[in-house]
């Protein structure tokens, strides 16, 4: 009996302690009082260790680091020193925004979680992409028709101008120009069908709806101008005197105008700069390329007027090329925007290919001009043959350039991508006491601005003392982190410099402190684009 009581006596303190702990259990909750690196900051180099300081000693449940690519690394090397948790950083932390997502438990068992968002070097922001899903047959059709249109405009109309106005002394090239005009006309007409099919996303070339859709786009104007250019170019040789001369000039002007009536380049701002730039670029191409094949043919056949034609060509071509290059630079600067876009956007990559081809073309042209022209003008047969062959090579390169330029139909320029990527994401959240309209600009991963408009349940504007945004991404393992909002002059609440490191579905909660003693929490989700 006594032994039993002695055992009980020994157990009694534990029972009392347990009862005392029951009382304590209901009230304990640690809170984060500080961290290293601080939440929402940019650090120059990746830290070697992280530290989280709490209001009381805690033990970690899970610690992970979410990288800019969404990959999660579990952090398992840590030590607790007094109330600070020191965590060793994993190796190979690259630049961009990382999130240290932590979940700890206070001594009583109540878990709390949070996230530390910090950026190494600079906050990461994804490269904007635009989804484009289209039938490959339609895309191939569009591309071929575009190349055919270029051939018609530059080799056809340009050729008619070259033969009638620039180098009237030569007779060669008539059949070539006519074939080019026919190719161009066929391409122009068919492209309306393909364009309409692409615009509608469905249907077959036999449907009227597809053709009317194609005509309805701005591309229809280009096709009309092109067909008119082909018509004028076609009749120019048949008209005598001034009429023929005028028709050839008209064909050239329309060949320059047609590309300026549609497309990304012409539509860019500032319009007063871009449309004339496209016109000049196209007209200059037409003059230069139009003259190439007739000249080459004339040289090959040893025509009498070939030398004269060559002289005229050599005289005017530097000015034409200067206009072409200048206009091209203006267009590239506005469309590409930033140098990085040359490599990380499809548009930029096509531009690099076109530029490489142009370098080859200019090298050939330079050899022609300074190496062979003088001797060919003098009448040397060897030089004349080499010049003819070189012109043939130039023509081939030009064809490749047309192919590259036609590919731009499928790549939105970085200018457009940036605008699309900047589109904001909105969210609406409401409870029976209040509602909030939130806008996250831009709506993609990286640094964003969050703005909120608060309304009472009866749609009146709501005044608040403080507003906090709480972001979390449970799917990516990111615990909630808070960002304080500032009141703007127009009554909205705004937080700038919030970094959302990943795309996906984020949970956003708005904590509205209505008065000192009343807080409202409104929650919703946001779909953040990559």
């Amino acid at each position: 009996m006594i032994r039993w009581l002695a055992h009980l006596a020994r157990l009694l303190p534990i029972v009392i302690l347990a009862m005392a702990m029951q009382v304590a259990a209901a009230f304990a909750h640690a809170s984060l009082t500080g961290s290293e690196p601080a939440d929402g900051t940019v650090v120059a180099t990746a830290p070697q260790a992280y530290s989280l300081t709490f209001s009381e000693p805690v033990s970690p449940l899970s610690l992970s680091l979410v990288g800019p690519d969404g990959g999660t690394v579990a952090l398992d090397r840590f030590e607790l020193v007094d109330r600070t948790l020191r965590i060793a950083a994993p190796a190979g932390i690259g630049p961009g925004t990382h999130v240290l997502s932590w979940r700890v438990v206070s001594e009583d068992g109540h878990p709390i979680g949070g996230a530390l968002v910090f950026s190494v070097g600079a906050p990461s922001g994804g490269t904007p992409q635009l989804a484009d899903d289209s039938d490959p047959a339609v895309l191939a059709g569009l591309w071929l028709c575009k190349v055919a249109l270029y051939l018609g405009l530059f080799a056809g109309s340009g050729g008619a101008f070259a033969r009638r106005v620039l180098m009237p002394a030569i007779a060669s090239g008539h059949r070539f120009v006519t074939v080019m005009l026919l190719i161009g006309a066929a391409g122009a007409v068919l492209s309306i069908g393909f364009q309409g099919r692409d615009a509608l996303g469905a249907g077959r070339l036999g449907d009227i709806a597809v053709w009317s859709a194609g005509l309805g786009t701005s591309y229809g104007r280009t096709v009309f101008a092109g067909l008119l250019a082909f018509a004028l170019a076609g009749i120019a040789p048949r008209l005598a005197g001034r009429a023929g001369y005028g028709a050839a000039c008209g064909a050239l002007l329309l060949a320059g105008l047609a590309p300026a009536l549609s497309g990304h380049a012409s539509a860019a701002a500032p319009q007063t700069l871009m449309r004339p730039a496209v016109f000049l670029h196209a007209a200059a191409i037409a003059v230069w390329i139009g003259a190439l094949v007739p000249l080459g043919l004339a040289l090959t056949r040893g025509e009498a007027g070939a030398a004269v034609a060559l002289r005229r060509f050599s005289r005017i071509i530097p000015g034409v090329v200067a206009v072409l290059v200048l206009a091209g630079i203006v267009l590239a600067a506005v469309q590409v925007g930033r140098p990085g876009a040359l490599l990380d956007t499809a548009y930029g990559q096509v531009f690099v290919v076109k530029l490489a081809l142009l370098i080859v073309l200019f090298l050939l042209a330079a050899t022609n001009r300074w190496g062979l022209t003088a001797r060919a003008e003098a009448g040397e047969p060897a030089a004349t043959r080499r010049l003819a062959r070189s012109i043939a090579a130039e023509t081939l390169v030009v064809l490749l350039v047309f192919g590259a330029a036609a590919a731009w139909r499928f790549t939105p320029p970085p200018r457009v991508l940036d605008a699309a990527a900047a589109v904001p994401v909105t969210m609406h959240a409401h409870t029976d006491k209040a509602m909030a309209e939130l806008t996250v600009t831009p709506g993609r991963a990286g640094p964003v601005s969050v703005a909120a408009t608060l309304l009472t349940a009866s749609f009146e504007p709501m005044e608040a003392k403080e507003v906090t945004f709480v972001f979390s991404n449970p799917a990516a393992g990111i615990e909630p982190f808070k960002r304080q909002a500032g009141r703007q002059a127009d009554g909205t609440w705004r937080s700038d410099g919030v970094v959302l490191p990943l795309a996906g579905e984020w949970s956003l909660r708005v904590d509205v402190l209505v008065s000192d003693f009343e807080i409202l929490r409104l929650a919703g989700t946001l779909a953040i684009r990559p």
Binding site: I14, A24, H29, S31, S55, E56, P57, L513, D516, I519
Partner: protein, 175 residues
């Protein structure tokens, strides 16, 4: 066995400061009688010292008297109650609605209790919980607000900033 006691003892000693919310010492009170509300303040605001403690008196608690605290200035903010209550025969329509203790300095590693006394009117529902929202202010711009009241289906444990509450029980005998 001894090791177990030692561990339990250590845990208790460690657990004793582990109270982060502001809470009421007496979790139950009978309706229709005077209640001594002891607000336990175990922490400052994220490590900073508390300088102001404000308690909002819920509707239904009348004739409130705070206990003065040395080193702190007391402010009693009066207002009209939602209705007139009968206080031992005297109809009472207005009284203290907010108590503010200010000008003090309670460090984060210190503990203190703020006491007030009030009469819980008998027509408050037995079994319901009466919440006293408390705000701790530290310095000019930091505050801890224990002001959330659980909605239907929620408990205080679900909330991030729960207000201290007292469960109301049957009126006991006496006067």
């Amino acid at each position: 066995m001894n090791k177990l006691i030692l561990a339990a003892g250590a845990l208790l000693l460690a657990a004793a400061p582990a109270l982060a919310h502001v809470s009421l010492e007496k979790g139950e009170a009978p309706v229709g009688s005077t209640y001594k509300a002891v607000f336990r303040v175990p922490h400052g605001c994220e490590g900073l010292a508390t300088n102001v403690v404000r308690v909002r008196i819920p509707e239904g608690v009348i004739a409130v008297k705070p206990m003065p605290k040395p080193g702190w200035t007391l402010e009693k903010i009066k207002g009209k109650y939602a209705r007139t209550y009968d206080y031992y025969g005297t109809p009472t329509g207005e009284g203290v609605q907010e108590i503010v203790w200010k000008g003090g300095n309670l460090a984060d590693d210190e503990y203190d209790e703020f006491i007030l006394r009030g009469y819980i009117t008998p027509d408050l529902g037995v079994g319901s919980t009466l919440y006293f929202p408390v705000v701790q202010e530290c310095g000019a711009d930091k505050a801890e607000r224990w002001i959330e009241i659980p909605a239907e289906g929620q408990t205080s444990d679900d909330l991030e900033l729960p207000a201290p509450g007292v469960t109301l029980i049957e009126k006991t005998g006496g006067h």
